[in-house]
């Protein structure tokens, strides 16, 4: 008898059947999602504010948090570093030849900013910020786009009061009316479709196609791709510079050379290094990315990569002759900001001592 006990779901499914064709019978697979499980994953936020957590954050706090966590890619004023996304500016450029699409100039909903920052940022340490910190960053991004004053505090209470400049700038796909009626069989030509044909543009003039072995220089014209892929390059100069070999200060060389490596521990460290690889490269052919190349870091004077722009803390320590040892690197990796509060590295730190030992071993091995 009990197996025929109607579940609540069956009644509602029957109602739906009327609206929808042939609902299949349930197989009873899976299990109920628990409320705390849904709460842990269900973080999306709708334009009407549905899903916003209770909390608040100020422009003032946001500026500091942004500087510590975001500015390394997006710039202190959200203006974008290298080819990372620009988050501010571009007001009134959408009808221009190369529009600058930022949060201020393009994004229609503020909910998208909060939603994206909370779920996907910072790059390499996603989903690690508190809800209040995300409010503060969102407030700062509004401020950097001149949309609020510097004493503004954003909260779930006043969230919907903020007006985004391009909120009315979108229409739903209108290709059925504007294109599908024109690009038709009836309008297709087969014979004598035009009198003459001239070549009006050639790809080889630009010379931006990669060679099989590496990158070609980019001409200015290549920037026309602007938004085709997310983060287009404005100028290749930075990348090129980063490819040049790093000149290590003379005093560090012997230390590295003398280090022995435990291959098993280094192999474990290689896995741990994945947490670092969003920003750092190490080994042959490594280049600066968001973070500096790490070849030869152990035994080197801090901030030893000549063409990388380090934080003030790092350059000051460099001037004082601070040298990276296994001991102080262990401390740093445990909680980077405790040692150098202004470090650009947004990584929160490795909790386990074994992970730190392994990753240091990997850095040693990969530097050799």
């Amino acid at each position: 008898m009990s197996k025929f006990l109607p579940k609540l779901t069956i009644t509602t499914a029957l109602v739906a059947t009327l609206a929808m064709p042939a609902f299949a019978e349930k197989l009873g697979l899976g299990r109920a999602a628990l409320p705390e499980e849904i709460a842990a994953w269900n973080h999306d936020i709708s334009p009407n504010g549905e899903g916003l957590p209770v909390g608040s954050g100020s422009v003032e706090d946001g500026e500091m948090i942004f500087s510590e966590n975001c500015a390394v890619c997006h710039g202190e004023f959200a203006e974008g570093v290298d080819n990372w996304p620009k988050l501010a500016g571009g007001d009134g450029t959408l009808a221009d030849k190369d529009p600058l699409k930022t949060i201020g100039s393009y994004w229609p909903y503020l909910s998208t900013v909060y939603d994206y920052v909370r779920r996907s940022m910072p790059f390499g340490a996603a989903q690690t910020m508190s809800d209040d910190d995300v409010y503060a960053i969102t407030a700062y991004l509004l401020y950097s786009n001149y949309l609020v004053d510097d004493d503004f505090v954003l909260s779930n209470e006043n969230f919907l009061e903020v007006e985004m400049p391009n909120a009315g700038g979108f229409i739903v796909d209108d290709r059925p009316e504007t294109e599908y009626t024109i690009f038709t069989e009836e309008n297709a030509c087969y014979e004598n479709c035009k009198d003459t044909v001239e070549i009006t543009r050639r790809a080889t003039v630009l010379d931006v196609t990669p060679e099989e072995e590496g990158t070609e220089t980019v001409t200015e014209a290549a920037v026309v791709v602007e938004e085709a892929v997310e983060e287009p390059v404005d100028t290749p100069a930075v990348e090129e510079a980063a490819q040049e070999p790093v000149e290590a200060p003379a005093e560090e060389a012997p230390v590295v050379a003398a280090m022995s490596v435990d291959p098993e521990l280094a192999a474990q460290g290689e896995k741990v290094f994945k947490k670092c690889a969003a920003c750092h490269q190490v080994g042959e052919g490594a280049k600066n990315r968001t973070g500096p190349v790490l070849n030869g870091v152990i035994g080197a004077t801090i901030a030893h990569v000549g063409d990388f722009k380090y934080s003030k803390d790092f350059t000051a320590a460099h001037d004082e002759g601070f040298i990276w040892t296994i001991e102080n690197l262990t401390e740093y990796l445990h909680k980077p900001k405790a040692m150098f509060p202004k470090t650009k590295m947004s990584f929160a730190g490795l909790k386990k001592d074994e992970e730190i030992a392994a990753v240091i071993e990997y850095l040693k091995s990969a530097s050799q």
């Binding site: 190369d98 038709t184 087969y190 099989e212």
Partner: protein
């Protein structure tokens, strides 16, 4: 004296020969001359005909033979800030047929490709459903399964060409596409398992889907599409998905832009509205001449490209019989025909479809022709079952202006020169 060495040398010298032949336009003459004398590859005993080859277990999972080592995905490093949030391109210039091997099918990651074990995989359905559910990978394999072949095209495919001919190769201009046979469960099956009674009237409801990786890519799909043909796929081309394509489970959204095909799918939420996530507002939207932008431009319109000859696949054999081939596809149904022009669009002739067009899957076309050795301005034009015909770039710009970069399905032109080399060009309309 190993046959490996012998093979490598032969491969290298043969390629060098072909390059030389293409450059001087004497390919045909040279190969004829070789045939007049006796061919040592025939008259002399070759090592591979004497000594034994590799044993069965030498490669437990095989890769293409080393002579095909240049048929690989390639990226355009200057396009993006970092390879972890970037894209590469399928070598369509070197493939034939329609199925894309997983190992060279293009990748697009927003926070890198993750290694997610089946044992650690969970899929949640929540929102406006009768019973929010959690499935393991094993659960998914117990639902009735379907097998369907679809193309996946990134909305940015050919986007770099919008402002003008830029990248010299079909791989780079059209390689953000692949076509695989997927095995999985329909999204409808899972939604019905959770029950849609709680959603009430389904006509204005949405399904929000989200990935498990650090990018947490999330997209909103109208309920009508979700119930129509979307799939939760765990196999592609008969084997497990590759890490870079979302192992162990990805979403398949037939005919619609690739960004919606969420990889490492972890959550499906029935909602009353579109979430308007970053990827459906600030990205993948199309700005028109007056500054307003189209959103929800999900479907990928009919499109085609000649894959050979093309810049990376020049004519090496001189004049005479020539196979012109390419791919055509439409997100709105089956390809019904492809036209080819060799004079930059003055006249068009019908190409032969290798097989009848399949809805929302790649179709291979051939034009078996005789090349007179003269320059060609080679184009292809796709027709789909809705009566739509692929437009020129000028026609698209007429409607969209010059800032609409995504969803560029314009006709592509290759300038094939007398020496057989080809270049990406734009021609007058």
């Amino acid at each position: 004296m190993s046959d490996t060495q012998n093979g490598q040398n032969r491969g290298a010298s043969r390629r060098a020969f072909l390059r030389g032949a293409a450059a001087t336009g004497v390919g045909l003459a040279a190969s004829k001359a070789a045939a007049e004398g006796s061919d040592p590859l025939i008259t002399e005993k070759q090592e591979w005909a004497i000594y034994t080859g590799a044993g069965v277990d030498e490669t437990p999972y095989g890769l293409p033979i080393k002579y095909e080592g240049d048929v690989i995905r390639r990226n355009v490093p200057w396009l993006t800030a970092d390879p972890i949030s970037s894209i590469n391109f399928t070598p369509i210039h070197a493939l034939d047929g329609t199925i894309t091997p997983q190992g060279c099918a293009f990748e697009r990651h927003h926070s890198g490709a993750i290694e997610l074990k089946k044992e650690d995989y969970r899929l949640m359905i929540n929102g406006l459903v009768d019973q929010p559910l959690v499935f393991t990978y094993e659960d998914l394999e117990r639902f009735p399964r379907v097998n369907r072949t679809f193309f996946l095209e990134c909305a940015a495919n050919t986007g770099m060409e919008w402002a003008g001919a830029q990248l010299n190769g079909a791989q780079f201009t059209h390689g953000m596409i692949h076509n695989m046979e997927y095995t999985g469960v329909t999204l409808r099956t899972l939604l019905e398992e959770a029950g849609l009674g709680a959603a009430g009237d389904l006509s204005d409801k949405w399904v929000y889907v989200e990935g498990a990786d650090a990018s947490s890519n999330g997209r909103s799909i109208p309920m009508e599409k979700a119930l129509d043909d979307c799939m939760i796929a765990f196999k592609a081309n008969g084997e497990a998905l590759r890490m870079e394509h979302g192992y162990p489970v990805r979403l398949v959204v037939p005919g619609w832009e690739g960004n919606m095909w969420v990889k490492w799918l972890r959550r499906i939420e029935v909602t009353a509205q579109a979430i308007e996530s970053r990827e459906e507002t600030s990205k993948y939207t199309d700005t028109l001449a007056d500054g307003t932008s189209r959103k929800w431009t999900w479907v990928m319109d009919a499109k085609s490209v000649v894959t050979s000859p093309s810049p990376q696949s020049p004519i090496k054999h001189g004049k005479g019989p020539l196979v012109i081939t390419g791919l055509a596809w439409s997100g709105r149904g089956a390809i019904t025909g492809v036209d080819v022009s060799i004079d930059g669009g003055k006249t068009w002739q019908k190409a032969r479809l290798a097989n009848e067009g399949q809805s929302m899957a790649l179709t291979r076309f051939y034009l078996d022709t005789t090349w007179n050795g003269e320059e060609m301005l080679l184009q292809s034009r796709a027709h789909d079952e809705t009566g739509y015909v692929q437009p020129t770039k000028a026609q698209l710009r007429e409607v969209r202006g010059e800032n609409s970069v995504y969803h560029n399905n314009c006709i592509q032109t290759w300038h094939v020169k007398a020496n057989g080399e080809a270049e990406n060009v734009e021609v007058s309309s």
